[in-house]
């Protein structure tokens, strides 16, 4: 099953490689991994999307928690949470397609950030499925390149990951 694991860690050199090294050393999957400092510059917040049985996910969270630099770990998928990912898509935009692409972008609540004679660069935010559907909707033929950040996640309401 797909899980979104969120963790707070010391914002120190090498901390990221401790996490990524753990995943490769123990053979765990990583679908995506995002990391950036928080409002407290000494801490980084990381979101990892992974797949595994309940037993594997339990091991992943325990092993992450065991890393000395990791302050706290939460499996967001265990409760209500929000998942968002940012995608930038550069498409061919010529002739009739220009109007159609603009319409689709509006429907998906995206924005066109850059327009050139032959291309659009579209920004879209949402859960993974929404971004996938957008790609399906405009069709792969038109796409020149895509950049996705990977998911960031946060718990709803009182589910807070802090020190």
């Amino acid at each position: 099953m797909r899980h979104i694991i969120s963790l707070l860690m010391e914002n120190e050199a090498g901390a990221l490689s401790r996490v990524s090294g753990l995943f490769s050393a123990r053979g765990y999957n990583i679908e995506s991994l995002t990391v950036a400092p928080t409002e407290d510059g000494t801490l980084s917040r990381m979101t990892i999307v992974t797949h595994g049985s309940d037993a594997v996910i339990e091991q992943i969270t325990k092993q992450l928690d065991k890393l000395i630099d990791v302050v706290s770990v939460m499996d967001l998928s265990e409760g209500e949470h929000i998942e968002r990912e940012l995608m930038l898509v550069k498409t061919r935009a010529e002739g009739d397609a220009r109007e159609e692409l603009k319409r689709l972008t509006d429907i998906f609540r995206g924005r066109i950030l850059d327009v050139s004679e032959h291309t659009y660069t579209i920004e879209l935010t949402g859960a993974r499925v929404k971004l996938d559907s957008f790609i399906e909707a405009i069709g792969r033929d038109l796409i020149l390149e895509t950049v996705r950040t990977g998911a960031s996640g946060i718990g709803r309401g009182n589910r807070i990951l802090s020190l």
């Binding site: 860690m9 010391e10 050199a13 090498g14 490689s17 401790r18 090294g21 050393a25 037993a55 339990e58 091991q59 325990k62 092993q63 928690d65 065991k66 000395i68 630099d69 990791v70 302050v71 706290s72 020190l163």
Partner: protein, 569 residues
């Protein structure tokens, strides 16, 4: 007062009460060696290879409850140390390894003797640090010692660039350490402990399975009390030997791949299993699916939550310091009016006794013609009164030592269980002998393993370490040969050790005493003579039966009850 980073490093070791520093000098640690030269509190032991420095620090730590400390230079110094670090990591041994690094301004430029020490060791340390500022040396070393010793112990590497060790700053050693992301558990959950107690009291076929954690937590007396209070059978893992006295009738022997029949059968057929500081690894329970075929309740007590429910499902997990958890469990059990059911226990012990008979105990066919390796270990036990520190290398001799030397006390059996590092035994024995100067230290090895760190005979000479080396020389890499015989159609691919040196002459060349023993009748007299030489290292080259195999054996991937008892006994 301002001091150099190097002086601060050594002062920190003094503050931590470090007696011995095992190491090897080189360019990146020259400042630190200069600081060592100018003091006499921390004694430096010069080894002949960095791997041995780490194993020696490891042996020192295993035989005491202190942190072992090693010092190596950058580049090859560090890479040579990695096997030792990984050995300590797999067996959770508290250790601090200090490595030199090229100067900070040269890092990343492929400088002479530069490797990414923090990167290379990351997967085999509990934690590691690169110290980039002289002001951070003291606080980093304080953290390193704390991390190495607390919680689940393990090796911690501190990498110090050469310029950092030469810069100057005020020395302040922090009195306390606080790492906000690290809070090892002390006491266990009281409710879980009460639940475990109830489960134990209601058990019909209980089993106590204790591992290296008991030794590391210095909780052997608590374990013994628990086993005797309940009257349950107890088994130890390879790492846990000595955690429960082997001469006690409630001890059913070591379990696992080369464990006793009764220990493995009781493990397989029990209805309540309590695992204490053990981790259900593949050499212990064999095939996980086979193990799970018979339902049983499992109580798992461990300091490391990630050890729990890693390979088997657990009904009552208890995370905490084993000593504190067992103390609390004992209190609950003593205050309970309920006692284990006498009839059920009698039946269970009757069953175990039957398994003891079927298994026939540990046995081998002795010979008056050729030396049987098991006989050497039995004689060692007899000569040393079962009270020696025994280190071992890896292979058949390790298993025979584990089986036939009955350990009654913890920290006496020193072996590389997790990583299985050949070359561990002799350098580990150096650390043990330094920690216990008046005691008998025996290194059980083979002609294969000993050659992986034989250069340490020179270190032993320099530091006058009267270790007794017992080499079971069968001319083969015995365990490899055994597997080739069983599973590879007797094709002994590269397991024959041709062109062996004359070990007697070799020992003599290093300035020690060498004895070659060819006949069974000479085993005991030779050992008498060797152990009487209190001040000499004696190398005993026992020519043993090359066809002897280790039994019982649970073949790899098989279940605990699918054991092969012997060839022809």
């Amino acid at each position: 007062m301002e001091m150099t980073g190097a002086e601060i490093t050594i002062r920190c070791l003094q503050e931590e009460g470090v007696e011995y520093l095992f190491g090897y000098p080189g360019g990146a640690v020259l400042h630190i060696y200069d600081a060592i030269f100018q003091q006499d509190k921390v004694k430096h032991i010069l080894v002949r290879h960095e791997q041995a420095a780490v194993h020696a620090a490891d042996g020192y730590a295993r035989s005491s409850d202190k942190v072992g400390v090693a010092l190596v230079t950058s580049g090859p110094g560090l890479t040579n140390a990695v096997t030792g670090i990984a050995t300590a990591y797999l067996d959770s041994i508290p250790m601090v390894v200090i490595s030199g690094q090229v100067p900070t301004f040269a890092i990343g430029e492929d400088a002479f003797q530069e490797v990414d020490a923090v990167g290379i060791t990351r997967p085999c340390v509990k934690h590691n640090f690169l110290v980039k500022d002289v002001k951070d040396i003291a606080s980093t070393l304080k953290k390193a010692f704390y991390l190495a010793k607390s919680g689940r112990p393990g090796p911690v590497l501190v990498d110090i660039p050469k310029d950092v060790s030469s810069h100057r700053t005020e020395f302040v050693y922090p009195a306390t350490v606080n790492i906000r992301s690290y809070h090892p558990k002390g006491k266990g959950d009281s409710q879980q402990i009460r639940q475990a107690a109830q489960m134990l009291l209601e058990a019909k076929r209980p089993m106590i399975y204790a591992g290296g954690g008991v030794v590391l937590a210095s909780a052997a007396s608590q374990l013994t009390e628990l086993v005797q209070l309940l009257g349950f059978p107890c088994t130890n893992t390879l790492m846990g030997l000595g955690g429960y006295p082997a001469n006690d009738k409630q001890f059913v022997g070591m379990l696992g791949m080369h464990g006793t029949y009764e220990a493995n059968m009781a493990m397989q057929h029990c209805d309540v299993l309590v695992a204490i500081g053990a981790r259900f690894d593949d050499r212990v329970i064999g095939n996980v699916e086979h193990f799970a075929q018979i339902p049983r309740k499992i109580i798992h007590i461990d300091i490391d939550p990630s050890s729990i429910a890693k390979r088997v499902k657990v009904d009552v997990p208890i995370v905490g310091d084993l000593k504190l958890v067992l103390d609390e469990l004992l209190t609950v059990l003593r205050s309970s009016r309920q006692k284990p059911d006498v009839t059920e226990m009698a039946n269970w012990w009757k069953q175990i006794e039957e398994w003891r008979v079927i298994g026939g105990g540990l046995r081998y066919k002795n010979s008056s013609e050729i030396i049987k390796p098991q006989f050497v270990i039995e004689t060692l036990h007899k000569i040393t009164g079962g009270d020696a520190f025994v280190t071992s290398d890896v292979g058949q001799h390790q298993m025979w030592a584990a089986q036939y030397y009955k350990f009654n006390h913890p920290r006496r059996w020193i072996n590389s269980g997790g990583l299985g590092t050949m070359g561990f035994g002799l350098p580990a024995a150096m650390g043990v002998q330094l920690k216990h100067p008046g005691e008998t230290v025996a290194c059980v090895t083979g002609e294969g393993s000993i050659q992986m760190n034989i250069q340490e005979l020179s270190t032993c000479k320099q530091h006058r370490l009267p270790i007794k080396v017992l080499s079971l020389n069968n001319g083969y890499l015995g365990m490899v040969r055994q597997w080739q015989e069983f599973f590879h159609g007797n094709r002994f691919s590269e397991s024959y050790m041709d062109a062996l040196p004359d070990f007697v002459k070799l020992a003599e060349a290093y300035g020690h005493v060498g004895i070659r023993i060819d006949k069974p009748c000479d085993v005991e007299p030779a050992m008498q003579e060797a152990f009487a030489r209190k001040n000499d290292l004696v190398f005993m080259d026992f020519r043993t039966d090359p066809t002897e195999n280790v039994f019982p054996m649970v073949p790899g991937g098989k279940g605990l009850s699918e054991v092969v008892l012997s060839e022809d006994l």
